[in-house]
């Protein structure tokens, strides 16, 4: 059942910029949807139209079965979250958290119950009687989050609420937002340019580029089956490895040379029009770094450019006539920078794209 529906939603600015180009999106009640894309892709403008802070140039916004396109923000019952800071210094933690409920006119007993519930969830119970200045920075952030999310509006709209935080703090807060959202199941739209945040939080990721939706799917699908080269590059840290070449018979031949990479059978069982594309035109092969491994009998020969630690992983950058590929391993590599190596691909991780349109073939 659609709870929030965007229909052919558009925004043109007076200078002619087409910020949002007619997007359609249905969001179910309780769903957490992340709008993900680079600066200028239209994600914040979309969010602001849902909030009522911008009027669409065309299209409709429907919320809970009603058309709210022309309603002012105050009549939509949406909670807008920018950042979690600026607590009131003269109030206790409990009073700070209760403040939005007091403003909404909730009776005292319900306020207290709501404050206790959220405080327990975010491990704030021992702090309720303290004043903000007696708290550490991290505790203040959590109180800010509790206050921002204590209410249960029909819709949470969050615009990069973690943007100004340090990496470690951002990660912690991201997890707590999800804990809180899963507990209350308030329908949420969350805007970010950070694909890691999107993957961690979302029930569904909506990838936007140049005012349009390029893919809307679960984090797993967006990651495993990117709909286009743009998504393949943008999602994943780093993005998918991409190699240009051609397909003949059941092999992929890199344009820059190197031995043929065998393609799995399922990948070649395509509809007829796609088979034609595969046979005639150039193709881009995509593989996630974790699906590439150093293997002395692998088809691609290259040279190690750089090795780097990345937490639990190790990044190995390899360069060859076919371009550059990153392999992700958990083991010690036992090879050195400038050393010649060979790469093999996990067949299940191979994807194919049509280079002109960028769209995914398989």
């Amino acid at each position: 059942m659609t709870f929030l529906g965007l229909q052919r939603l558009e925004k043109r600015w007076p200078d002619g910029t087409h910020a949002v180009r007619g997007i359609d999106l249905d969001i179910a009640e309780g769903e957490l949807v992340v709008l993900l894309g680079p600066s200028g892709c239209g994600k914040t403008t979309t969010l602001r139209m849902v909030a009522g802070l911008e009027l669409p140039s065309a299209g409709r916004v429907r919320l809970g079965g009603e058309d709210v396109t022309d309603r002012p923000p105050s009549q939509r019952d949406v909670g807008f979250v920018f950042q979690f800071y600026a607590l009131y210094p003269h109030m206790t933690v409990a009073e700070n958290i209760a403040f939005p409920l007091e403003c909404a006119g909730l009776p005292r007993r319900e306020r207290d119950a709501a404050v206790l519930r959220v405080a327990e969830r975010l491990d704030l119970l021992p702090l309720l009687g303290r004043r903000p200045r007696a708290l550490s920075g991290g505790d203040q952030q959590r109180v800010g989050l509790a206050r921002a999310m204590v209410r249960k509006p029909r819709l949470w709209l969050m615009d990069e609420p973690l943007g100004s935080l340090d990496a470690a703090r951002r990660a912690e807060m991201c997890g707590l937002i999800r804990v809180q959202q899963l507990a209350d199941r308030v329908t949420t739209i969350y805007v970010t340019h950070d694909q890691e945040e999107a993957m961690r939080l979302a029930d569904r990721i909506v990838v936007m580029s140049q005012g349009e939706i390029v893919q809307a799917a679960s984090p797993k699908d967006v990651y495993d089956r990117p709909a286009s080269l743009f998504v393949a590059r943008f999602v994943g840290s780093p993005g998918m490895n991409l190699i240009e070449g051609r397909v003949s018979a059941s092999d992929f031949h890199p344009a820059g040379g190197g031995a043929a990479i065998p393609l799995p059978h399922e990948l070649l069982a395509l509809p007829r029009d796609m088979r034609a594309l595969l046979r005639d035109g150039p193709v881009v092969l995509g593989a996630r770094p974790e699906h590439v491994r150093l293997d002395p009998s692998g088809p691609l020969r290259g040279r190690i450019l750089l090795e780097a630690d990345a937490g639990p992983w190790r990044h190995v950058h390899v360069e060859g006539p076919w371009g550059r590929v990153l392999a992700l391993t958990t083991a010690k590599v036992g090879a050195w920078v400038d050393e010649e190596v060979r790469l093999a691909f996990d067949p299940a991780g191979i994807r194919l794209f049509e280079p002109t349109s960028g769209r995914s073939l398989a």
Binding site: A168, G175, R200, F234, P289, G311
Partner: protein, 346 residues
């Protein structure tokens, strides 16, 4: 072994009564990239400013290329500082911005060399196509490339980078991270790189120096700092998924958490209490004796992270994608004793 290019010894700095740096020791060797990892307010910027000569430390020594640098004015230290918010001249072209540091009268650099260096830097940073564009018309990523270009045209002895990527989009940050790592390698340039992002530090650096509240907590090669953080404070700097930090007491020869969970055997002769650290990738989800439920599952891409209440904390476990996990899944977390990091009780 030759003397390091930069050596900082016992450097301290106070602002009023507040100590900003306390007896900091640090070295950067020729061609080395050293990451200064710490949260906001750790003292990273103050340290870089002391090295650049923009602040005068209260105590300590600073040698650059074997010379006492504290006596030198900033201009003679031959270091380049790249800021988080680098101010370019907005109405000037990229070329003019890049030429500017070379046009200082004291340099008396011939026009041909200026042109050559600008072309070289532009090629390095892939901004050749932007050279005639006014700086105000650049995107954030382009501006930061030009800012770095302004530093590299000078070919200084040492680069000081103060969170140069922090204000950029995540994707751009990741791209530039690898570009700059390669650039440092090609230039064979020593870099001291301040960041609050552990992944950036681990991926970029030959050495990591963890700094908090003005003190060096640990320094070492990335793999060692990652595998053996010296304290819970260092572990907390190491990003996401977080290291699980569990206060424990010794009971019947086992490290036991506040809720009674036996986390691991306590070696003979160990003290009565300790703090244990367990990396998320070392907390496996089966085989333990304290069953619990998964609260949240988060996808990282190559793997997934399960968040669960275990051993009295909100614990994080990195699990393979093949494991079927969802909120409510019953699991029994377990850690092998060799993966337990033991710190003194705190």
């Amino acid at each position: 072994m030759s003397a390091p290019l930069l050596a900082v010894r016992g450097l301290s700095k106070r602002f009023g009564r507040a100590p900003a740096l306390e007896s900091v020791d640090l070295e950067v060797g020729e061609g080395q990239v050293v990451a200064l990892l710490g949260p906001t307010g750790a003292g990273k910027t103050t340290l870089l400013r002391c090295i650049a000569g923009l602040e005068q430390p209260d105590q300590g020594t600073l040698t650059l290329g074997g010379r006492d640098a504290l006596a030198l004015p900033p201009a003679e230290r031959d270091v380049a500082l790249v800021f988080q918010n680098f101010s370019l001249y907005p109405s000037k072209t990229v070329r003019a911005n890049l030429e500017f540091p070379l046009r200082a009268p004291a340099r008396r650099m011939p026009a041909a060399e200026i042109a050559e260096r600008v072309t070289w830097a532009a090629r390095m940073l892939r901004i050749e196509a932007l050279l005639e564009r006014p700086a105000r018309r650049l995107s954030g990523g382009e501006m930061q490339r030009v800012a770095i270009g302004r530093a590299i045209v000078r070919r200084p002895k040492l680069f000081l980078m103060d969170e140069p990527l922090t204000n950029l989009d995540a994707k751009l940050r990741e791209q530039l991270r690898f570009e700059l790592r390669e650039l440092a390698r090609e230039l064979h340039a020593p870099v001291l790189w301040a960041t609050h992002d552990a992944l950036e530090a681990l991926a970029m650096a030959d050495r990591v120096v963890a700094l908090d509240r003005g003190r060096v907590l640990q320094s070492g090669v990335p793999a060692d700092v990652y595998a053996r953080p010296a304290s819970p404070a260092v572990a907390r700097l190491l990003g996401w998924p977080p290291v699980n930090v569990i206060p424990v007491r010794k009971m019947d020869g086992h490290w036991t958490a506040a809720d009674g969970t036996r986390v691991a055997p306590a070696p003979a002769g160990s003290p009565d209490a300790a703090t244990l650290g367990i990396r998320a990738e070392n907390l496996t989800l089966a085989g333990g004796h304290a069953p619990t439920e998964v609260e949240v599952v988060e996808l990282t891409g190559p793997a997934q992270v399960a968040v669960l209440h275990w051993a009295g904390i909100r614990a994080h476990a990195l699990a393979p994608r093949t494991l079927e996990l969802r909120p409510g899944t019953r699991v029994a977390p377990r850690v092998s004793p060799e993966h337990v990091i033991t710190w003194p009780a705190g």
